[in-house]
């Protein structure tokens, strides 16, 4: 039995790197510090119901087992022949694999796109319009006395976000009475502390024992308790522990954000309410924003994927930017997949663009909506696809999926997925962050090492190795073609 500590959790963009795993006979038997989602992944990833360890090739309509060499050769043939192949996924693998993936995309003159195209793509387009004032998560822990979650529910989507980085943490300049309260409860409720704590604590802070708030804080720390604001279309679990909850009418976030921009400049609004929120409340909350010492606005898909999309983010970033004229304020997207940030980072340093990169003319070209996966699929522009560590079939629009499976399709994934069922070539790979190492980027762009904790099945190679072999084979084929 061995204990591996400081393991980085390969599930969500929070990338908690304090996980402890107990390994016995090449199996993870115990998980410490992880949230329920992380624990489930570490304990259950090898479930044979979701995994096949042999490569498959479709022959006469049936997926049949094949050798790795054969699968790689077939993949290379498909890609080398294609006029407009799509290479999609990348957010659940290591940056090392993504680097090779881009080289492959360039070699075959294809389009490389990562899953931000369907999550925070609009946020990126917006950053390109207006910029972004942001910071690493530790800054929030040390300094933020105001945290806003807009269209995002960390309680469920990023379970340890509150506990490690924001509301339930304390730092050098920002103490938290929450953390003490939780510590007390910890002994009682054990590992589900965070979740249960919320059920015990009443939703409003007034119920907290006041005596703890001023206990021995040195002068710079006597600042007010960290405040939390939640803006969402419905009252989420996160909203229940907030100081302010603003329920915005669906698809009206843009109007509310623009109204906030008016309010922080003391500009009069011609209307009495905006997006279902009374102007008085907007003005009150605007005042809270202006009076904080360090504010942070986290936003999720509730903002990026509703009505105004990139304009929502334009407005949110502009609001935060303008708040910096009066105080310190930052903003950050809540990223989903554990290395979707890393995918953007690698794409950007190699090609100049964070996603949706078209190499068909020999150099990188970028225009989401035109060169992005969903749009290429919806229009049926592609003639082959390679999907790496992603499962678009159940998530993409019907038309896009039809066009995906109509063309030759290669899937590299450690798991059996609905997409791999539809593929022409399936190459099973090692689980990144469990069976193979590498690098991933946290949602705040902090790079962290992923660990290899157990050995993968013999036939499951790391994505990086598989891609390198396909690349080599493509080059061999192309050499033959020109010769």
């Amino acid at each position: 039995m061995t204990v591996v500590s400081n393991v980085t959790c390969p599930v969500c963009g929070s990338l908690c790197d304090d996980i402890e795993l107990v390994v016995e006979n090449n199996r993870i038997v115990k998980v410490r510090n992880a949230c329920a989602v992380g624990e489930a992944k570490f304990l259950g990833f090898a479930d044979p119901h979701h995994r096949r360890v042999k490569p498959l090739i479709r022959k006469n309509g049936e997926l049949v087992e094949a050798s790795l060499d054969e699968a790689i050769r077939r993949s290379a043939e498909i890609l080398a022949e294609a006029c407009y192949p799509l290479l999609y996924g990348w957010s659940s693998t290591s940056t090392e694999a993504i680097r090779v993936g881009l080289e492959l995309a360039e070699e075959v003159g294809g389009v490389a796109d990562n899953t931000s195209t369907v999550c925070h793509g609009p946020s990126i387009l917006s950053i390109q319009n207006v910029g972004i004032p942001t910071c690493t998560l530790g800054q929030i822990r040390h300094r933020a006395d105001l945290v806003i979650y807009w269209g995002s529910n960390p309680w469920n989507a990023h379970p340890r976000h509150l506990e490690r980085y924001t509301t339930f943490t304390e730092g050098r300049f920002q103490k938290s009475i929450w953390i003490r309260y939780l510590t007390k409860l910890q002994g009682l409720i054990g590992r589900k502390k965070a979740e249960r704590a919320a059920e015990l604590v009443s939703p409003r802070k007034e119920a907290m024992p006041q005596t703890e708030k001023v206990e021995g804080l040195p002068p710079p720390l006597k600042a007010e308790e960290r405040k939390m604001i939640v803006v969402d279309v419905r009252k989420t679990r996160s909203a229940e522990i907030a100081d302010y909850f603003l329920q915005v009418k669906p698809n009206m976030d843009y109007e509310l954000l623009q109204a906030f921009r008016m309010a922080i400049h003391d500009r009069e609004l011609d209307v009495d309410e905006v997006a279902g929120v009374p102007v008085e409340l907007i003005e009150e909350v605007a005042d809270v924003m202006l009076k904080c010492r360090f504010g942070m606005l986290f936003f999720g898909l509730g903002l990026t994927m509703t009505s105004a999309k990139i304009r929502n983010i334009d407005a949110a970033i502009s609001l935060v930017r303008e708040l910096n004229e009066r105080t310190k304020f930052t903003i950050m997207p809540m990223r989903g997949h554990f290395n979707v940030t890393g995918a953007n980072v690698v794409f950007t340093w190699q090609t100049g663009y964070p996603y949706a990169v078209d190499f068909s003319q020999g150099f990188p070209r970028y225009n989401p909506g035109e060169t992005s996966a969903v749009d290429i699929l919806a229009r049926g522009d592609l003639d082959a696809a390679l999907i790496v560590a992603s499962d678009p079939v159940p998530h993409f629009p019907k038309k896009a999926v039809e066009n995906l499976v109509k063309n030759p399709l290669i899937v590299i994934d450690p798991q059996v997925t609905p997409t791999s069922f539809m593929a022409d070539v399936v190459i099973p790979s090692a689980f990144v962050g469990i069976e193979t190492g590498g690098t991933a980027y946290r949602m705040d762009h902090v790079p962290l090492p992923l660990k290899k904790v157990v050995e993968p099945p013999e036939t499951c190679l790391p994505d990086e190795v598989i891609l390198r072999r396909i690349l080599k084979e493509v080059r061999r084929l192309k050499g033959m073609r020109t010769a």
């Binding site: 050098r172 300049f173 310190k328 340093w349 150099f363």
Partner: protein, 566 residues
Amino acid sequence: MTSLLIKNGFVFDPLNGVNGEKMDIAVENGKIVEKVNEAEAKIIDASGMVVMPGGVDIHAHIVGAKVNSGRLLRPEDHVKDVEPKTPVTRSGVGYSVPSTFTTGYRYARMGYTTVMDPAMPPLKARHTHEEFNDTPILDKATYPLLGDCWFVLEYLKQDRIEECAAYVAWMLKATKGYAIKLVNPGGLEAWGFGGNVRDIDDPVPNFGITPREIVRGLCKVNTLLNLPHTIHVHTNNLGKPGNYVTTLETMRCVEDLARDGKPVIHITHCQFSAFAGDDWRTFDSGTEPIIKYVNAHSHVTLDMGQVVFTDTTTMTADGPFQFLLYELSGNKWVNSDVETETCSGIVPFQYRRKSFVHSMQWSIAMELALLIQDPWKIFLTTDHPNAGPFTHYPRIISWLMSRKAREKILERVNKKTLRKSLVPTIDREYTLHDIAVVTRAGQAKALGLKSKGHLGIGADADIAIYALNPETTDLSRKPATVRKAFERAAYTIKDGNIVVKNGEVVNAPMGRTFWLNVDAPKAEIEISKILQQKFAEYYTVSYQNYPVPEDYLAVSAPIHVKAEVE
């Protein structure tokens, strides 16, 4: 590896006292050697051409978190400047913030072979090194930002210099860094709450230490650790009218720490720190007192930060300065604070000839370069991409070498600049020897890179050959010829391999990453205990996951340094 003989070139090798003499350079196994067997060697006929050591850039933001955010920010900058894939090169984009491969190729095309990235947030060190691994041809290194690290501030406040030195030694190893970088010391911590420091004696909020104490402290640490380069300082108040006073005080504050007439401080992109005036309206050049001081003292080196009139992307760790620039320009703005350590900002920016301030900035850098007598004290940079992309170096070389070229610029600048600038009065024209100093020899010397910047026996065979004949060309009258020659090297040789021929990349091997393996064993053990204790409190990552392991570097080139601290 094959041998190489470069015959009959006009060789400029200032570190070995060679000034344009016609001679042969022999290369074997990647090193300069006395001679090679001519029958077996590949011969390069360099007759009528200039031969220099490969270019060395002491300060260019080419990789890492901030640079990459700059790339992400500027699709409209990339779309106008693309590099298609070739059989030997990867594709990429420019213009002001090129992608990694393109960066490597473009430097190599100009005959540059060693480049220093000057601003690495330690927490994001892995990112810098990952990008290095995709930056071909060049040898490179990076300077961790240490001037606002809480550990540094705390040790220095308590005057625990040796422990601070041990911490810095650990950080250089953990981040695989090369030099101590200070950016607006103290000001970045203050920016954590949206503040700044006013001058070098303004205490940092919550820490009580002054920028002066930080600069002096890290300067002492640098000496204790025997680091090859000096502290590398971006001054307080950078980019603000009247800041030349701060710059003078910063240089003065370490005057007493110099030994044997050797430099102890490098003031980087000095142009941005040589402003006079009370505000933008009364803006003026503050170069005169700086030039006088530098001419009279030997403990300082500078680099220019030459402004080029173009559309570029400014990016520094100086968060408050970048905010100022955002407010001035109204352009899009990225800010990124890094917990416990530093911050950064990015703003696209256009330098216009007709703007009084911008053209004065052009003039300020020229004044520094032309009026500081000793070329070993000032180096050619644009603080890429802050004052302009590095691809403009050849243009700057032509300005330095030709009064005529400068006059041509001055014809088109703001009229007020023409009245105020000293440049029209300056006759000095750089020789090719001077150029070799400010673009390679001087920079390599200041960096303490012993195998770079010269063509002596044993040096790395990094060589640039330019199709420029100093005997038949009047360099001062032919600035365009000079510029073109330096834009496209006839040959660039890296570690004995021809990587560029006639301005085109023909081979793109991976270069080294230098870092300092500082030997300070005892003190470090002490430090690591404290670090481990405080780490969880200070950071949101684990202590164990913080250091960059050596195998992370594609080609690791540790330089062993023996510290004077036990």
